[in-house]
């Protein structure tokens, strides 16, 4: 059987704060196949970024991973030393962020920065490395890569900076790219360019991508698999068709119905009552129960695990305990 490229198993992340412990991630498990684009979607604060960072073991203070395994290319990353992790970050898993300007170093040219990254991890001649940098700039669709090699980050538009970040991320030929809201700061026509580039890279290089976004449209059009997070837990996961055409979790259904659509003008949009609970003060039982229109007595006392809806599809909701499946 084919092993997934990445498996996250029972991940827990906790922040120790003066107000108390914030349980930001509470036992999430998912995997990414080779060559797949997996969408991680959910509203602000649900734990998307911390999940991405956990994979690289880059959870910022005062946060820490308190439990879980990160199996990547067949080995668990959790017990690795900081040196070994540094190698993984530089060579096997790359990450890009919402704000490329903040991630790029303003005092070096685009070319120099990518050159320096490559130098750290590969032993090629300077001429070869420079040539590879220019090739990368071309691969990510930057015009006139020879000229851009010497351009500084501030001379580039937001879209071009994000392309430069992607070039840098690709420089070590990683097998996984974690893209945290990579187009959120960009205009929609530029966003379309970047998403198109990510799809091209997936197809031409077979790279796997964890695409973190709050935008359900982006997920539908870009990803093959989807994980829907709610308050640090997985509400539902499945193939894009499962999630968008056959959503089972009331939260997923509510989110999709809250989106304006071509026929919605003149009608009220669906509203999910209440708000996301604070990580400091989580309700017992199902976290979504206080907002759920299908809530049953059971839901406020017990936390649902993921129930199988179909071989590709799981939902953390007691409504589906009887309907589809068996307990995990």
């Amino acid at each position: 059987m084919n092993q997934p490229l990445l498996s996250v198993e029972d991940l827990h992340v906790r922040f120790r704060t003066p107000l108390g412990d914030v349980h930001a991630i509470r036992g999430i498990s998912f995997s990414i196949e080779r060559g797949q684009i997996m969408g991680l979607v959910g509203e602000t604060g649900c734990g998307k970024s911390m999940t991405g960072r956990s994979i690289l073991r880059l959870v910022p203070q005062p946060g820490e991973i308190t439990r879980g395994r990160i199996l990547f290319e067949g080995r668990d990353l959790m017990p690795l030393s900081e040196d070994e992790m540094h190698k993984i970050r530089g060579e096997r898993i790359a990450m890009i962020y919402q704000d490329p300007a903040a991630a790029l170093n303003p005092v070096f040219s685009i070319g120099q920065q990518i050159f320096m990254v490559m130098e750290q991890h590969q032993a090629n001649s300077d001429v070869d490395t420079r040539q590879r940098v220019i090739q990368l700039l071309e691969d990510v669709g930057l015009p006139e890569p020879m000229t851009l090699y010497n351009a500084y980050p501030h001379e580039l538009s937001g879209g071009m900076q994000q392309r430069a970040m992607i070039a840098m991320a690709l420089s070590s030929d990683p097998s996984l790219l974690i893209a945290d809201e990579p187009t959120t700061a960009l205009d929609v026509t530029i966003q379309a360019q970047i998403l198109d580039l990510l799809i091209t890279l997936q197809r031409s290089r077979g790279i796997s991508i964890l695409l973190i976004t709050h935008n359900l449209g982006i997920v539908a059009e870009t990803c093959q698999r989807v994980v829907v997070l709610y308050a640090g837990r997985i509400a539902e996961q499945g193939d894009v068709g499962d999630i968008f055409h056959r959503p089972h979790h009331p939260y997923t259904k509510g989110l999709l119905a809250a989106l304006p659509n071509p026929g919605s003008r003149g009608n009220a949009l669906n509203v999910i009552p209440g708000r996301v609970p604070s990580g400091l003060d989580l309700p017992p039982g199902c976290t979504f129960a206080p907002r759920c229109e299908y809530v049953m007595d059971h839901c406020s006392q017990h936390q649902p695990g993921l129930f199988t809806v179909s071989p590709s599809h799981e939902a953390a909701c007691f409504l589906h305990e009887e309907v589809g499946g068996k307990k995990p």
Binding site: E43, T44, V188, A192, A220, G241, F244, P260, N261, V271
Partner: protein
């Protein structure tokens, strides 16, 4: 002069806005940005006019000019028969009550040191004689209108969620019973489920008070949902204007087509071919000659580089400014002023 229709609330004629910023030693250098270039627009009573376009195209500047938060460098704006660019300070003060603006980030428009009830009372204290019990009553009424209760009155802005803060900003905007609201990306900072709440609230308020909205957003699906008509802007100009349905069902300007096609839809089987525009948005400080869109247009022709396109009427209340439409019979080429 053109007779203004009964139903027209606001009419803008050829408004331009040029920002001049100085930089360098003693500000010897000038940087000029033409944020709006000869924009014509008419807004009907009770309608929602959506404004879409990418960042820097002049949406916010247009909104600010229309309610005279800033004074355009050229043009004419008529609100309810009153030429608002000609008003003196005291008349302008009165006008402020009629027109209000709500911004994307509610926290930046709410004084962090004030409590919610004082924030809502503030415009009432400044512009009306309300005091004591009557003032309190009005504040409460306004908060109820936007779905906030007594438990929110004594909170500071930082104790509110984004959606709640936007509700406070809305109740402040409504305090003086305005006719016209400019809503500048009011839901762009909010999560989907909260966005839906605010959009529904805006619709209710509009119906209840007969409000007229200018709804600015870069999110096409939101604008489509809420707007009766939509104007598409590119680099300081309106390039297409039509009913919401017409913009989406038969977009005429290649930029409108690209915008619609670039907007991701939550359907994995939509099977749409995305139009991917090449290149970047040019700077409004130095817009391309001829048609401003020609540097990115997939259908660019020779004439586009030389000549600015005229607005063509392409249907009832639908016009677009593009040379591709030049081939149409010449009588459909109408001066903007007449069809708007």
């Amino acid at each position: 002069m053109i007779a203004i229709q009964e139903s027209t609330l606001l009419r803008a004629e050829k408004i331009s806005m040029e920002f001049v910023s100085r930089y360098g030693f003693l500000g010897r250098h000038q940087h000029r940005v033409r944020a709006l270039d000869s924009v014509d627009l008419e807004i009907q009573r009770g309608e929602t006019l959506g404004i879409v376009g990418e960042s820097g195209c002049g949406k916010t500047t247009l909104g600010r000019c229309l309610i005279r938060l800033i004074t355009p460098t050229a043009g004419r704006i008529v609100l309810d028969g009153v030429e608002i660019l000609a008003l003196d300070a005291s008349a302008l003060r009165h006008l402020r009550r009629e027109m209000q603006m709500v911004f994307q980030n509610p926290f930046s428009s709410l004084n962090p040191r004030m409590k919610v009830d004082d924030l809502v009372a503030e415009p009432l204290r400044t512009h009306t004689d309300l005091a004591g019990g009557a003032l309190e009553e009005r504040v409460e009424e306004l908060l109820v209108e936007v779905g906030l209760g007594a438990e929110h009155m004594k909170r500071h802005p930082h104790q509110l969620s984004g959606g709640q803060a936007q509700r406070v900003a809305l109740s402040r905007a409504l305090a003086l019973s305005p006719k016209f609201l400019v809503l500048d990306e009011p839901t762009s900072a909010l999560d989907v489920s909260v966005q839906a709440q605010i959009i529904n609230l805006l619709s209710q308020l509009q119906e209840r008070h007969g409000l007229t909205y200018l709804f600015i957003s870069h999110d096409l699906s939101v604008v489509r949902h809420i707007s009766d008509r939509i104007a598409v802007m590119y680099l300081g100009q309106i390039v297409e204007l039509a009913s919401s349905d017409a913009i989406f069902n038969s977009p005429q300007h290649p930029y409108t087509q690209a915008l619609i096609s670039s907007t991701p839809v939550p359907d994995p089987d939509s099977g749409r071919e995305r139009i991917i525009l090449e290149g970047n948005v040019p700077s409004p400080a130095n817009p391309p000659a001829g048609c401003r869109f020609h540097t990115r247009c997939p259908y660019v022709m020779d004439i586009c580089r030389r000549q600015e396109p005229k607005a063509h009427a392409v249907g009832e209340g639908h016009w677009a400014a593009c040379h591709l439409l030049d081939k149409a019979p010449s009588d459909s080429v109408i001066d903007l002023q007449l069809i708007n």
